[in-house]
């Protein structure tokens, strides 16, 4: 078995390596008994099949992730989000689950998952996994039984109809490839309902047996130590006449029940909802703090990209202004990229056209209503833009979710079908297969990138670990800074007026810790590729001496006049206003 990572040359003091920190003399990171850990966590989304292959069969696996935990600990993430590892025909990246209680043989075993959780916990890292509530694969035994006749015990576990005209107003999400939300089943001779692909029949949540079955799945995995779930496609659980099949009260009632049971029996777990809707609708999934702990903030992401392209702040400030307050203990999940496409479902048609025009002139890059690209190609591999976007990600309200490989500024492969373009193997070394696997190239789950710009020969963990000025090191340091300042996790947000549209300024403030003093951190970003200056209204902090958070350099004190800042191209500052009021 290879331990490629252990062989890396690591700059002195980086504390890197497969070994836990204790061996380097640092204190271990105990897993605190903290029911609200997710508010301060940095998540790392990874694809088990694409991360590291421990058994040379060409497919990444759970034991492979265990081998790379040292790297993740060094990077400084707090929680791994595992993309689906369940047995599946893999027609939708594993979101077509054929058995909720198993692990796909090429990924490992249930015992491997248990071991992963234990090993991660030893390193202060938690693990959550995808859970698909809305549907199963058509290969799932439940569906096979349900379709076999109209009167079998699971006949009502899915949504069947004699007509495909029912609920015809409900929008079709994968409108590129699906023409209807109904598909005819020749065995049962009826139509079944599916909001996503036709091979993913929707479960019938009207049926109490289905609800119990899903809750059993939840208990099974929490009993095995998982720290929670990323709940896939939650808005679509219910549908009935006269409704558009999204965000229905019954769906919320089910989520409240799920939360109640989790809170009662499993402390310190998290439910993270994927509800790809406008913020005003998404907040409903927090309930009154009694539904999901976290929800993804989808529209913020394309807005960040748009603001950089337009070189002005309004795309971001507009969506922040439209984001409602969330209940105590709730937290947004924010991200730059994920395994899906740059989500454009919720930008206006005009802005969607704009995003297409800017980022996806090549039609092959378009997938459904989004764009299947990784971060680096999306910003033309501009390191300064990547840094600026991460500075936003780490300082705007919400827990950041990183996507594996983006810490290297990895590229994508638009010639792969579906969403596989952004799922190519993690690039560990410049060696064969990018150090991902020792299997024959032809055997690999997906070909690693080999192009001159993003290929593993030039972009890989080993090279970036050796290079102290690499993006990887930069991000590792930024994560460390963020960890020292919980104000970024839990502080309030106030956008400050700046007289230059290319400059975005905001203050995160509040009590960073539970008992900590009132703190304010001023974040200033230059969204333009040219140097800019701006006057920022800081009247309330008059007398404060801003201190730059990373290098602790003092800035001129805040006076009566608006505060004057100068920023380099795509530059940003995080300024501590801590000394406010002190001599």
């Amino acid at each position: 078995m290879q331990h490629a990572f252990r062989q890396l040359a690591v700059p002195a003091g980086a504390g890197a390596g497969a070994e836990p920190r204790t061996e380097a003399g640092a204190t271990p990171r105990p897993l605190l008994d903290d029911p609200r850990w997710y508010e301060r966590a940095v998540f790392y989304e990874l694809l088990p099949r694409g991360f590291y292959d421990s058994n040379d069969d060409g497919v990444g696996d759970i034991p492979g992730i265990i081998e790379k935990l040292g790297y993740l600990e060094w990077l400084g993430i707090d929680c791994i989000w595992l993309l689906p590892f369940y047995p599946s025909p893999l027609k939708d990246g594993g979101y077509d689950v054929a058995d909720f209680y198993g692990v796909a043989p090429d990924c490992g075993t249930v015992d491997d998952v248990v071991r992963l959780v234990e090993e991660a916990h030893r390193r202060g890292i938690r693990v959550i996994a995808d859970l698909v509530l809305n549907h199963t694969s058509d290969q799932h035994p439940w569906f096979q039984e349900s379709r076999s006749s109209r009167d079998n015990p699971k006949a009502d576990w899915y949504v069947w109809s004699d007509t495909d005209q029912r609920w015809s107003d409900v929008r079709i999400i994968f409108c590129d490839v699906e023409r209807s939300n109904w598909t005819y089943d020749p065995v049962r001779q009826q139509y079944y309902w599916h909001r996503f692909y036709h091979h993913q029949p929707d479960l019938n949540y009207e049926n109490p047996e289905v609800r119990e079955a899903i809750l059993s799945v939840v208990r099974f995995w929490l009993d095995r130590g998982l720290d929670g779930f990323r709940l896939d496609a939650v808005p679509y659980l219910y549908q009935y006449d006269g409704a558009l099949g999204e965000n229905l009260p019954e769906t919320h009632a089910f989520l409240r029940r799920l939360r109640r049971e989790v809170d009662r029996d499993y402390p310190n777990r998290v439910l993270l909802a994927e509800a790809n809707q406008w913020p005003v609708d998404v907040v409903d999934y927090f309930g009154d703090g009694d539904e999901c702990h976290m929800c993804f903030h989808f529209p913020l992401m394309p807005r960040m990209f748009m603001a950089v392209r337009r070189e002005q702040r309004f795309p971001i400030t507009e969506i922040l202004a439209q984001t409602p307050e969330i209940p105590e203990g709730a937290q947004w999940g924010i991200f730059l990229r994920n395994h899906d496409e740059l989500t454009l479902e919720m930008v206006t048609d005009e802005e969607r056209d704009y995003m297409y025009a800017e980022y996806a002139r090549d039609p092959r890059m378009r997938r459904n209503l989004g764009i299947a690209r990784r971060l680096a190609p999306l910003v033309d591999n501009d390191r300064r833009v990547a840094e600026l976007l991460h500075a936003l990600l780490l300082s705007l309200p919400g827990s950041p979710v990183l996507y594996y490989g983006d810490e290297l500024l990895m590229g994508d492969n638009i010639y792969l079908g579906d969403r596989d373009g952004v799922r190519t193997p993690m690039q560990w070394t410049p060696d064969r297969n990018g150090g991902f696997s020792r299997a024959d190239f032809a055997q690999l789950v997906l070909p690693p990138l080999m192009d001159p710009v993003y290929g593993y020969q030039s972009v890989n963990v080993e090279a970036e670990m050796r290079d102290p000025s690499s993006f990887l090191h930069w991000l590792q340091r930024m994560l460390a800074v963020r960890r020292q300042h919980p104000i970024f996790a839990t502080g309030g947000l106030e956008v400050l007026p700046a007289d230059n549209p290319s400059v975005l300024a905001y203050v995160r403030s509040g009590r960073g810790g539970i008992e900590g003093p009132e703190r304010s951190v001023l974040c200033v970003c230059n969204l333009s590729r040219f140097a800019q200056s701006a006057q920022i209204s800081l009247a309330r902090w008059q007398g404060a001496v801003p201190v730059e958070l990373i290098g602790r350099a003092e800035f001129p004190p805040v006076g009566e006049e608006p505060y004057h800042v100068m920023l380099g191209p795509h530059g940003f500052y995080w300024l501590d206003l801590e000394d406010w009021g002190q001599p």
Binding site: E311, T317, A321, E351, Y354, A357, P497, P501, A539
Partner: protein, 468 residues
């Protein structure tokens, strides 16, 4: 019971007389009336005396806040002109502190019930300005901090806690002031693309102050336009240097091709402004629909366009001929206009575009005032032409910052930028339900008239460049 008002009034008159803004206002008024009398006897006599030698008189003095510091308001008259002066007083020692050495604000010594005090321009004293806010809002609003914005001859601009904005007028007008009138009526009609009015101070037939919300994050449209142009023209720099020598102006179809190429490039630029301009067009349409609702609407026609063009000093014949049929029913409407509608009068906020600068119409009252309508009406095309001209000026200004080497490419791009954005403005306007009826229905006529008004604006701008 309190200060000696009469003595204070005398101090107020001589203080007013010393103020440059007052002298400017008086000479401007005199020049206007002199022009009206076509070379009347009034020469450039200096000072506060009226053309007929009259002196400033106190029309009204009133204590707003007795005690120390105290506050009084005065309406001072010189001939037809009326001025507001707010006067405060304190004991000498605390006055020095309150004015922080601002001796130019001093009126002079005076006495109140408790003895000698110093009188001064009350707007220089934070405590009194805060007291004024409470007074003007009838106690509804209190603030902790005031910031003074650059002052114009006609009014003071005060910002309270970065939350409220007060315009306190210095030169008063009889009857409803157009700004106050428009803002209050538009707000009442539900037009919310303006900073919401909070309070309105009116007494003795004069509008004295207007308080509205202050939106610190909002930025002038001009800044967005310049940001967009910066992005585009820097792009031209890169493209130009890559392409080597700028091409010579191409004749005929090649020119059209180059134009189309520039259009494509502008549309693809990262800093494209067209979506913002479409939104601004929609806001403009809602503004005109609300103005029609508040101040009336009548059909436009050939003669109204002829009159409007003539007023701008343009011979309307050629334009009207080119515009073709403009009968009532197809020529759109006449409504009250904003009248000074350019990129500095629109603000982009988190909630979209806001319109400000109501009542700044330089033509308001110039020719139609006193007519039966009581205010100027015109085709909404005039406001659109203002904005379109403003876009063109922004493009020129940005072009002026580029080097001669890149001028050929840059000016083609700047031209395409203006075409795209001014087109988007009209497009956004017409997309608003009910707005199409306000404009001439024939696209050709619309374009011809828009271009004519725009070049008229240009002439006016060249005549008085200070307007921008």
């Amino acid at each position: 019971m309190t200060v000696e008002l009469e003595a204070l009034g005398a101090l107020a008159c001589s203080y007013l007389e010393r103020q440059p803004w007052y002298q400017e206002t008086v000479s401007a008024a005199r020049a206007a009336s002199g022009a009206a009398r076509s070379g009347g006897a009034s020469g450039p006599a200096a000072g506060a005396r009226g053309g007929d030698g009259s002196a400033i008189e106190v029309e009204l003095g009133e204590v707003i806040r007795p005690g120390r510091p105290g506050l009084a308001r005065f309406v001072l008259a010189l001939g037809e002109l009326r001025f507001q002066l707010l006067v405060g007083w304190r004991p000498a020692a605390s006055a020095a502190e309150a004015l922080r050495g601002g001796e130019s604000a001093l009126l002079g010594p005076c006495t109140d019930d408790d003895g000698p005090v110093l009188a001064y321009d009350a707007l220089a004293d934070d405590d009194l300005v805060l007291a004024l806010l409470t007074h003007v809002t009838g106690g509804a609003e209190r603030a902790e901090r005031v910031r003074r914005m650059p002052t114009l001859a006609s009014h003071h601009s005060l910002v309270f806690d970065e939350r409220l904005f007060m315009k306190c007028y210095r030169v008063l007008e009889r009857g409803p002031r157009p700004e106050v009138d428009m803002v209050l009526k538009l707000d009442e009609a539900g037009f919310n693309a303006l900073p919401a009015p909070v309070a309105h101070w009116r007494a003795g037939g004069y509008d004295l102050a207007l308080v509205r919300e202050f939106l610190p994050g909002a930025l002038e449209g001009r800044l967005l336009a310049m940001t967009s142009l910066r992005d585009l023209l820097a792009h031209a720099q890169a493209a130009g240097s890559a392409a080597g020598e700028p091409e010579a102006p191409a004749p005929g179809s090649a020119a059209a091709e180059a134009e189309a190429e520039a259009d494509t490039e502008v549309a693809a630029a990262g800093g494209d402004l067209a979506s913002e301009m479409r939104r601004l067009g929609a806001t403009t349409a809602s503004l005109h629909l609300a103005l029609a609702q508040c101040f009336g609407e009548e059909p436009a026609g050939r003669s109204s366009f002829a009159r409007a063009l003539r007023r701008e000093g343009v011979d309307p014949e050629a334009t009207l001929e080119k515009a073709g049929r403009l009968e009532e029913g197809t020529a759109g409407s006449l409504v009250r206009l904003h009248g000074d509608y350019h990129l500095r009068r629109v603000m982009r906020s988190e909630a979209g575009w806001l319109v400000v600068g109501f009542g700044d119409d330089p033509l308001y009252g110039a020719s139609d005032a006193g007519s039966s309508m009581g205010h100027r009406r015109g085709s909404p095309l005039e406001d659109l032409a203002d904005m379109s001209f403003s876009l063109r000026s922004a493009a020129r200004e940005a072009l002026g910052q580029r080097s001669p080497a890149e001028m050929a490419t840059a000016s083609r791009l700047a031209q395409a930028w203006w075409r795209r954005n001014s087109g988007a403005l009209v497009e956004g306007y017409l997309a608003v339900e009910g707005a199409a009826r306000l404009l001439p229905s024939d696209p050709g006529a619309r374009e011809t008239l828009l271009a004519a008004f725009e070049s008229a604006r240009e002439l006016r701008y060249e005549a008085t460049p200070a307007e921008a």
